[in-house]
């Protein structure tokens, strides 16, 4: 019965538009100057003391003005929601990958965040050369797949381009000994997606989903499809597609899809997350600052 009541709590928050939106003026942090400049921003996250705060971007590396505009909006939101790090869903650099491309498509775009010591954790997409694992600002430590622990959350960056036996074994071994409260996997190809261009990667799903279920992965973050989509929980796992941080495939979501809880394909976006104990709050924000989705996920293990 408790499980159903928790389900209802999520439902109520989702149907009710997530958390009540609060403007910056009602929060306590930041300078007055920033408050004036960003008074139009709406934060749908609780901004609790000692919470874990991070952002998510995917399919960013186009080097276009619109990628820059998404980055600028992230900077503005950081004045009211100081996130510590950013997870990248892959396709970090489209096209050429010379030194100048790393600047044009990444370090120049996110310069303000990098200057503020915000760390980026990348994963490889189908447009990324594997040698990116050695790039200082992607923090991959020379590895195609890796784990990073932040507070009570373990993040697993996987290489979904190449999910071979070695990686599967590594993932199982790591998850099996992981006692973190939250286990979040992020990678490029979405096991579930309602987008028309790519859609659900069933071959990948066949291999990774049983592992996620066996070892209690809570949340899966992906990109590849250039849209935003929050998938209805699948076998209890929360899935997101966040693949429009630098490219957009407008109108690509199939409206007939039964997978979608909420989607947005009219503009580019980024996401913010805040973890408070057994609750994970999220907010998806468009390039122009519109909140396109928000809500809270309850840790599945706490529902038992």
């Amino acid at each position: 019965m408790r499980r159903f009541l928790f389900s209802f709590l999520i439902l109520a928050l989702v149907l009710g538009g997530g958390l009540s939106s609060v403007s910056y003026g009602q929060t306590a942090s930041g300078s007055k100057v920033a408050a004036r400049a960003n008074s139009s921003l709406k934060l749908a996250l609780p901004l609790k003391d000692n919470s874990l705060r991070f952002a998510v971007i995917g399919d960013t590396g186009s080097g276009t003005d619109k990628q820059q505009q998404v980055a600028d909006m992230m900077v503005r939101y950081r004045t009211i929601f100081p996130f510590e790090f950013v997870l990248m869903m892959g396709d970090n650099l489209y096209g050429a990958e010379s030194a100048i491309d790393f600047e044009k498509k990444f370090s120049d775009v996110y310069k303000t965040l990098l200057d503020d010591k915000v760390k980026f954790y990348a994963t490889l997409g189908n447009h990324d050369l594997p040698i990116q694992i050695n790039y200082e600002n992607f923090n991959m430590n020379g590895k195609e797949y890796y784990r990073v622990k932040k507070g009570n959350v373990a993040f697993y960056s996987l290489n979904s381009n190449y999910m071979d036996q070695k990686q599967v074994k590594w993932l199982e071994d790591e998850l099996a000994k992981d006692t973190s409260e939250w286990k979040v996997c992020f990678f490029h190809h979405p096991p579930y997606s309602s987008a028309g261009k790519h859609g659900s990667d069933k071959q990948l799903r066949e291999v990774v989903e049983p592992i996620f279920l066996k070892y209690g992965v809570n949340v899966v973050l992906t990109g590849h499809d250039h849209v935003y989509e929050r998938i209805k929980p699948q076998k209890g796992i929360y899935y997101f597609v966040s693949g429009a941080g630098g490219k957009l495939r407008s109108g690509d979501i199939r409206e007939s899809s039964t997978l979608t809880e909420k989607s947005y394909d009219r503009d580019m976006h980024f996401m913010l997350f805040e973890v408070v104990g057994d609750q994970m709050y999220f907010q998806a924000i468009s390039r122009t600052g519109e909140t396109v989705d928000s809500g809270v996920l309850v840790n599945q293990r706490k529902q038992k």
Binding site: R3, F4, L5, S7, F8, I10, L11, G95, A96, E97, S98, A99, I100, F102, E103, N126, H127, L129, P130, I131, Q132, N134, Y135, E136, M140, N141, G142, E144, S160, N161, Y162, M163, D164, Q165, K166, V168, H189, H198, D201, K202, Q203, L204, E206, V207, V208, P210, I211, L213, K214, G216, K232, P233, Q234, K235, G236, I237, Q300, R301, Q303, K304
Partner: protein
């Protein structure tokens, strides 16, 4: 009091019904056993073919690591300039060291035949359709089918379906299988060189 209880129960049933309608799978959160397909039996002849293929890959690895050892090491927190310079130098050095390498030096005729058979027999019906869908959606037109040539950095790297990778001979992390159309390539991870290729791999 009774009214309050009635109201409370009503609220509960509404919550229950809504939860079941909107989150039919949530109650399954947690553990589900992994479903594994039975592994196919590999004949003694095929085992031998796989061993020889793996040995040729190991020989390649020895050579590339020897070449790599002569280059200044690439650190795990390199700048873009260091990455670009390293990639170019590694590519050039490896090409020189492998001058004269022929197509089929690693994908021998018997190895290529084994891979074609594996794909044909292991991927049928829906599985094959999904495999082809993944491979053919990648934009790889213009990738040269030439040994010792770099895989163009502007071209997409096809996702290798995990169900397929679990069935192919295993490779060290420095070497990757890649599809270009129906053809299969072996590509060096760090230098991006096409080490070898076979045609018509995908049925």
């Amino acid at each position: 009091m009774k009214e309050k209880m009635k109201l409370g129960m009503g609220f509960f049933w509404v919550a229950l019904v809504l939860s079941l309608v909107c989150f039919p799978n949530l109650s399954h959160a947690g553990v589900e056993p992994a479903q594994t397909k039975p592994e196919p039996q590999v004949s003694a002849g095929d085992k031998h073919v796989i061993t020889l293929f793996e040995n040729r890959v190991k020989n390649y690895l020895k050579l590339r690591n020897k070449v790599k050892a002569k280059l200044p090491a690439l650190s795990k927190d390199s700048t873009p300039e260091q990455i670009e310079s390293y990639r170019k130098r590694f590519e050039d050095a490896l090409r020189s060291a492998r001058a004269g390498t022929q197509r089929g030096d690693i994908f021998s005729a018997t190895a290529a035949d084994y891979i074609r058979r594996t794909l044909r027999t292991e991927f049928k019906g829906k599985d094959r359709a999904e495999l082809r869908e993944i491979v053919f959606e990648a934009e790889t037109q213009g990738v040269p089918l030439r040994v010792n040539y770099p895989y163009p950095e502007t071209k997409e790297l096809t996702e290798m379906p995990p169900t397929l990778l679990l069935k192919l001979p295993q490779l060290p992390k420095e070497v990757k299988y890649r599809f270009v159309g129906r053809n299969m390539l072996l590509v060096d991870r760090d230098s991006n060189l096409i080490i070898d290729y076979m045609t018509g791999a995908l049925p």
